[in-house]
Amino acid sequence: MEFMKPPPIRRLTGSETVAPSHDRQPVAAPPNGHGAANGNGAATAFVGAQRRRVAASSLAIDRMQVEELSVAYGRKLAVDSVSLTIRQGEVLALIGPSGCGKTTLLRSLNRLTELNQDVTLKGRITLDEADIAKLDPTALRRRVTMVFQQPNPFPMSVFDNIAYVLREQAARRPKRGALRGAVRDALSRAGLLDELPDLDHPALKLSGGQQQRLCIARALAANPEVLLLDEPCSALDPQSTQVIEDLIVKLREDVAVVIVTHNLQQAYRVADCAGFMYLGELVEYGGATQLFRAPRQQRTKEYVRGEFG
């Protein structure tokens, strides 16, 4: 009864690499027409699903620059001198096993890491050439907004969820009518407007996928330059995931999108650029096609082939 035994647990320790084993096939989605046509080295390469993007955007503009960033929680190093560029017009996917520091990297991009008290940061992050450490965090977070793993609409109406973002703090609260246009605009950018019975619908009564798109709409309402997505689909069903992936690809023209995901197929589907993180290091960073189909590093190769993680 060979199949009753659980597969052996593979672990990488330090920089030591595990020899590729031959008794396991890479985990991959069933190949479909497009994926098979694109991939020519099927034996070693990542067999992905159909990519959602039509073509790489030619208008990619550098928006954020991460330079030698290290983040530590107390004495534990979570991100180890990572450098990368975030461009508008591109979707950057950060992949890697749990606890590899990709969420920490994402959270340091809008200084959410500061909410933890024992966090220390080294290195520099710039947004349009300005050091984000010198920006007001609330102003920064309006320019670099974030969507979380769990759908978390606020317990109020759909309208109020978006209006909350639009209303500036301490300023005189604008009237409902003045915000209506902007609210509808944000909802339609997230593709949610047509599905809503009315704008006063309680946000927590929407379905999970709709809630997550409301969260995206909320993040877009601030008119950000960078949109951070922390595993936005991990709590959703495949259909909602598909809708959100389409949305992500559509959004990259207006905002730079960074997505953290555990789902390699998803990263392959939506990303133009990809970074593979492992134990806090950015092991490999480059175009998504190259990273998934012809990874340069041994560890990347093993990870995208599904040998560990």
Binding site: L115, T138, F148, Q150, N152, F154, P155, Y164, L204, K205
Partner: protein, 325 residues
């Protein structure tokens, strides 16, 4: 073709499913279960008995005129007659006043404990202080209140004659009663805030909102059922308190205002509440008119029960809409 498989027909709906091979419970377990059932039923019986007894007594003695007439002391027989209009209004007045102190202070303390909690040492001290207040018998609070409100500095809150501060007034009673309600407000609001998943806070911060804006516009609205629960439980406790009323409200069965400014004079003056009215008219009290005591107790119980139902409604509504954790 059809990928959907029909579910295997199970036992009829409502039929009890018993694993055939599971051995019967041991005797001790069965006795324990029986005892638990018995005690549970006993507890229900006590609750039902109290409510039924006062319902019956109440219906027997409650007369509409009790609600609209004031107690009046008959000088010749020194027996109070009349209804409990002023004590009823006094209950409402003193409760509203006490909760208008306890609610904002309690919410502020709960927000500070739950959302800030720094410096940590101070937060710990605040926490144990609240526990201590919650555990202090209200008669002790009442005595402390007498000391406090008889001081000349606080004389404006009660009656003053010839430089001597009387120290008994609605203000004095409500201030001490707010301490009775405060711990319930703090614990409930705090629990409500802590039940909000952290990612909801972070979502608000990630949209460029400050901590204060997040607390005010997201967290407190989300914790509204808990705030309501705390307010109602606190109010229930305040309504039911007698010791502070007896000591600090002056023990006059009708409003006895001090001063000339309309509302302020009432608050500076003395009065009574339904609890005091019950205490006064109980067979052991000075008034000794059990019928009126029963009627007032029934009204008191009805108010507190209504508050409890309100708590139930508030918490049930809160359970309906939640985030996935």
């Amino acid at each position: 073709m059809s990928a959907i498989e029909l579910p295997v027909p199970g036992p009829a709906p409502g039929a009890r499913i018993r694993p055939p091979e599971s051995p019967p419970w041991r005797l001790r377990d069965r006795l324990g279960l029986g005892l638990a059932w018995l005690l549970g039923l006993l507890f229900c019986a006590v609750a039902v008995a109290i409510v039924l007894y006062f319902l019956v007594q109440g219906i027997k003695y409650v007369r509409p005129e009790l609600f609209v007439t004031n107690p009046s002391v008959n000088a010749s027989t020194s027996v109070a007659t009349g209804g409990f209009l002023d004590p009823l209004l006094g209950t409402l007045l003193v409760t509203a006043l006490a909760m208008s102190i306890a609610l904002p202070v309690g919410i502020a303390v709960a927000v500070w404990l739950s959302e800030y909690g720094r410096p940590a040492a101070l937060a710990r001290i605040a926490e144990s202080s609240i526990e201590m207040i919650a555990g202090t018998p209200s008669i002790v609070l009442a005595l402390f209140g007498v000391l406090l409100f008889e001081s000349p500095a606080l004389g404006f809150l009660s009656r003053m004659s010839g430089g001597v501060v009387y120290g008994r007034s609605f203000f004095a009673g409500a201030a001490m009663l707010s301490l009775v309600g405060l711990p319930l407000v703090v614990t409930n609001v705090r629990a409500g805030l802590q039940a909000i998943p952290n990612h909801v806070r972070e979502a608000s911060y990630a949209l460029g909102k400050t901590k204060i804006a997040t607390t005010r516009r997201v967290l407190l609205p989300a914790a509204r059922p808990s705030v309501l629960t705390g307010a109602m439980l606190g109010a229930g406790r305040v309504i039911g308190d007698t010791a502070i009323i007896v000591v600090l409200l002056g023990g006059t069965l009708t409003f006895n205002s001090a001063g000339s400014v309309p509302l302020l004079s009432t608050l500076q003056g003395t009065g009574a509440t339904l609890t005091y009215y019950v205490f006064y008219n109980a067979p052991t009290g000075e008034g000794n008119q059990p019928g009126k005591a029963y009627a007032a107790a029934f009204v008191l119980l009805a108010i507190v029960l209504a508050l409890n139902v309100g708590v139930d409604v508030a918490t049930r509504r809160s359970r309906r809409l939640r985030w996935s954790s």
